[in-house]
Subunit: 659 residues, 2 copies
């Protein structure tokens, strides 16, 4: 491995200090890699990295000013149609989110709410005239939009929202109303201080009949910033993080807007006051509308991934310069990263960060691919939505856990705000529960799998899940597993080898992951089918841990296959050698974490289980010499880390060192 | 289990709303239970629960004012000798810490630094004259002391501190000096704004000869609050939490203090300028001094435990009133706590919180017991220090993980500062790395075990560990395991039962835990012995994960045995029945988490592993009806939870509910 640190000469992107780091970044940066490089080089960093010691008021003001920078950089328009001044590139808009997330998450989330969620709703749920009227002022910053979905009473259960949007045939207006205290919209980003207009989710009532959840645009504030008549705006106040985002509450008291304010692409009210929709079923229409959330979830995945990679970049760099305790032979103090326990904390996490990154790249590409299809492919779309939900859950869990590990790996220094980890941790925290609570999203993944994406997956409740599995046919589950020729080839090759050779064999890893997925899914399906017709809560509830496991095993397989494909696509031998080791480290770490399952299901012997642990330790040792290159390859420039301890005089941290 | 909710009539402590909750609290509150009750009833709650939305400046001012309340309540004196106005009750001082921690952690940590660490150093490392001169002004608040151990260059490795304390025979003074940038003291609680005097750790040099680390008292500020000549005070600024604690840096430029300022109980300078000590070995003296840290570590364990129990109390109460998604039969929305996945998140954690609480109670009692011995018992003292280190590591890890689970279990509401979870999480975070980094502490536990507490365990470096294991004799390890007759009896009884009966059998749980500990320790000892004489870094480092595993398995066993003893001491049948289930849930959850190990070491069959998971699910269902009682039993009064969502109008959270 000593050859690794030299590397093949390449044209360096500006910020990488090592050729190998640059090559790793290129190999795993996805199809938008050059876009990211260009953005990194162009964005004014000073305006984008926040001091996390700011008060809430200061942070909000800072975010407001920095959002202007994002708008000026043209990032507010990328996801919108060309006709409205955009690039019509949803994939690119996810990448903008990722790059901004490497700088500051308050800024990123505020932008995501205004342009991604509000703007996305106008774009995806509105008609051409909505896009023409409402997108240009949004892109220029004349409008500040917010996305008013969640209520105190209902968050995950969007179908049960209580806000009403009632058509008044007398005036041909829509009356937006919060009938109960629990109908108050809450946690609405940008509502507390800035938003001038809201995309409000509520139950559409036309001619006395309910048509389920629809979205209407409601102006919130007048030119002076005061709430318009009938609108009551509250402030959620201080939060556990994202202090720059002004989350607030909205209550509507019979607020009237013209009928044209309804985003009516999938359902609306005609001039005669009749409800009209191309989609017959209320449920299908609802889930088609919710499907537009997919981009938001992909963005959260990219943002979490960026946050985790940033934290790992800080902690690994620190561990590669910080020393503690003498070597027994008196030859000086030991670098933290030379301790096995420290390698174990950080290096498998680095490998996982690579794995997630490749899976997210695929997701972004797929989003763009499906967007460009002339005709919507419903099954492919639902598969994308399922993967987005799953990867959002996986990557936010990973980010929360990993940033915390990084904070602790830096000791007391890690707790100081100026060193960049605690702010990151606090900001990323909420990603686990917003844009879909992780537990709910994993259930949704399982449902997608059980139905082979043939059913609308949106029914998140018990009834939907049990009913879906009852309708499911025998071998449908198999279809859900891999269809990559590369994977089939590797698995087949592994089956021909002797057990003693297979520990490093990619085919064995892939087989372990997919075999586990198939077993968990098949037994889940059988279990739910046995309860056929019995839609009782208890049936589903007793299997809930099995449901969640099925989702996780599926996503683990998806991630591994994405990583394997990315490695396969790399043709520089040295870079590929490092990627192969990272991929093995990711695969074996996952197998070790699930060692109990693999043994109790006779997929792995006791001897093999112990060998896996020993091999992980060996891999940590092999990768340790290129640790700096590994974190450079994660794509977060050193200058963006915002960590005082990494730029201070080294003599402060290490006796005798000089700057 | 339906009988559980009624409970045996008892005299209720003021705050419990259920007899069972009160009984559980009493059964697991330890020997200081009445002291806690009395404190809870007496302390002015309004002054002790902080608004976590405060700025750093506001939080520091609030903490300063609230610390006055603690002093007025007599809590500053409990750990000090009667002669100086104290209760001479170190156990009680840990309990004061625990109760304060249930209210606010900034307040608790500030008090712990000033009275526990600085005051503790004066008390334990000083002579009678130091106690007479320095404790009374501390107890009254005239002095504010700080504890200046950590430097930028060295935190865990205290022996390598660079600050020097040099005796000048000309003037009979001690010269305190920071020779390098890395010698600057940092993260020193109370240093930035308040401290008037510091207990400074540094290398004592007498007559040109070094005698290792000693502690000297150095006045920091004059009457106006300005730094004294030669003292440079810095401010660590904003942190990831504990904003009320003013951590700062201290640099000394040849600062002179009289010789009498040296805390010289274990080593000092006589009037002739000669170094004198009753302890011959520098190393032994150093570790005797460090042994005084034991109380601080027990306090951190009690504080983490309190924080985790508070978070669980919030999340369980919320889950027991929050509904989301309809029941399939249309009978209304489902309470979060009725979902298996939600039970799985919270109830095993509740069981673990009980387990830790009982183990910490034992530790506090043992501290007090050993303190009262007329003659120091060195082996018992080292065993206590080992357990304190281990339990500190376990309970801080558990607190960080659990508070985060609780935050996520409350969804968006959990992220709002006013609901009490994110502030708790931010404050408790640093517990994982202060008062001894958890990884370092676990190594120390392993070393104590390997040497049967016969060696000084303080050598935290490689050399010490390898050397100790080389000297270790064959069967010493066995001694480290249990010596409780109750445990022996239960294990023996289990061995006589058939495998099918044992899943709920306490003896089987105990045997699993102790067998695992013994195996891990024996194989570690053998591994290190094979490297006898070879003190190379690589030898130790390759075994570091094994070392940490040994420490954890030992502590797991210690915790289970403490819980089993507490259950055994409970003679109310209904309370005991619930405690038995909690204890089983704790034991099985631990076995499930380590299922990979147990199977790969042939301690558990595949069938049994699956049965364990099923049994955990059953136990969650059995305990769910008494969930409120369970969290009342955790001992944190509802009024202390500081969670807005628990006191708001229920109609806000649940459609149709009324307050």
């Amino acid at each position: 491995m000593t050859t690794m640190s030299s590397g093949t000469p390449t044209t360096l992107p500006t910020w990488h200090s090592t050729p190998l780091g640059a090559a790793l970044d290129r190999a795993t940066g996805g199809s938008y890699h050059e876009v990211k490089r260009e953005l990194i080089g162009r964005l004014p960093l000073d305006a984008l990295v926040r001091d996390h010691g700011m008060t809430m008021e200061e942070a909000r003001e800072w975010t407001r000013r920095s959002a202007r920078v994002v708008v000026d950089a043209g990032m507010s328009a990328t996801g919108f149609p060309v006709a409205q001044g955009g690039l019509d590139d949803p994939g690119r808009s996810c990448v903008d989110f990722e790059v901004t997330a490497m700088a500051d998450l308050s800024l990123t989330v505020k932008g995501a709410v205004v342009f991604g969620l509000y703007g996305g709703a106008v774009n995806a749920l509105g008609s051409e005239r909505h896009r023409e009227e409402f997108l240009p002022p949004l892109i220029t910053g004349a409008h500040v939009g917010c996305y008013a979905m969640t209520e105190f009473g209902h968050g995950s259960d969007v179908a049960s929202l209580e806000t009403t949007i009632t058509h008044d045939p007398e005036t041909d207006e829509l009356v937006v109303h919060s009938p109960t205290p629990s109908a108050t919209k809450t946690y609405i980003g940008a509502a507390a201080e800035d938003a001038t207009i809201a995309a409000v989710y509520g139950q559409l009532v036309v001619g006395g009949e309910g048509h389920g959840v629809h979205v209407v645009l409601v102006p919130l504030r007048d030119g002076t910033g005061s709430a318009l008549p009938g609108v009551t705006i509250g402030d959620n106040g201080h939060k556990g993080g994202l202090l720059g985002v002004d989350n607030g509450t909205l209550t509507f008291d019979q607020v009237r807007v013209p009928r044209r304010m309804l985003l009516d692409r999938f359902g609306g009210v005609d001039a005669d006051g009749r409800y009209v929709s191309d989609i017959d079923s209320d449920s299908k229409r609802f889930f088609t509308m919710l499907g537009t959330l997919v981009r938001g979830r992909i963005c959260v995945a990219t943002g979490s991934s960026a946050a985790a990679r940033k934290a790992l970049s800080i902690a690994v760099r620190y561990a590669d310069r910080r020393r503690q305790f003498d070597r027994p032979d008196g030859s000086g103090e030991v670098l933290l990263l030379d301790y096995l326990a420290h390698q174990r904390k950080l290096l498998p996490a680095v490998a996982t960060a690579y794995a997630h990154r490749t899976a997210i790249n695929e997701l972004v590409d797929r989003l763009q691919e499906l967007h460009q299809l002339p005709e919507k492919d419903q099954v492919a779309q639902r598969e994308l939505e399922t993967r987005a939900a799953g990867l959002k859950a996986l990557s936010t869990r990973f980010a929360n856990d990993t940033i915390q590990v990084c904070r602790e790996a830096c000791g007391g220094a890690g707790y100081m705000t100026e060193n960049g980890l605690t702010g990151l941790r606090a900001d990323a925290d909420v990603f686990a529960t917003f844009e879909g609570d992780n537990t709910v999203l994993l259930q949704l993944v399982a449902k997608g799998l059980l139905t082979g994406y043939k059913e609308m997956w949106g029914d998140l409740d018990t009834r939907g899940m049990v009913a879906a599995s009852a309708r499911m046919v025998g071998d449908q589950v198999i279809e859900a597993t891999s269809m990559r020729p590369l994977v089939d080839r590797l698995v087949a090759a592994a089956a021909r080898r002797s057990p003693s050779e297979t520990l490093l064999d990619r085919g064995w890893h892939l087989a372990m992951f997919s075999d586990r997925e198939r077993h968990v899914l098949e037994t889940l399906a059988a279990r739910l089918r046995r309860a056929k017709g019995d839609a009782a809560f208890e049936t589903f509830n007793a299997a809930q841990d099995h449901v969640l496991l099925a989702a996780r095993t599926h996503m683990d397989r998806v991630v591994l296959e994405a990583f394997v494909s990315a490695v396969d696509a790399c043709d520089d031998p040295e870079t590929r050698d490092v990627l192969e080791r990272l991929c093995t480290l990711y695969a074996l770490s996952s197998i070790e974490a699930e060692s109990g399952w693999f043994q109790s299901h006779n997929r792995m012997s006791a001897t093999r289980a112990k060998a896996v642990t020993a091999q992980i330790n060996r891999l940590c040792g092999e990768l340790r010499p290129v640790a700096l290159e590994l974190v450079e390859g994660l794509g977060v420039p050193e200058a963006w880390l915002g960590s005082a301890m990494l730029v201070e005089d080294p003599a402060r941290w290490t006796p005798g060192a000089t700057g």
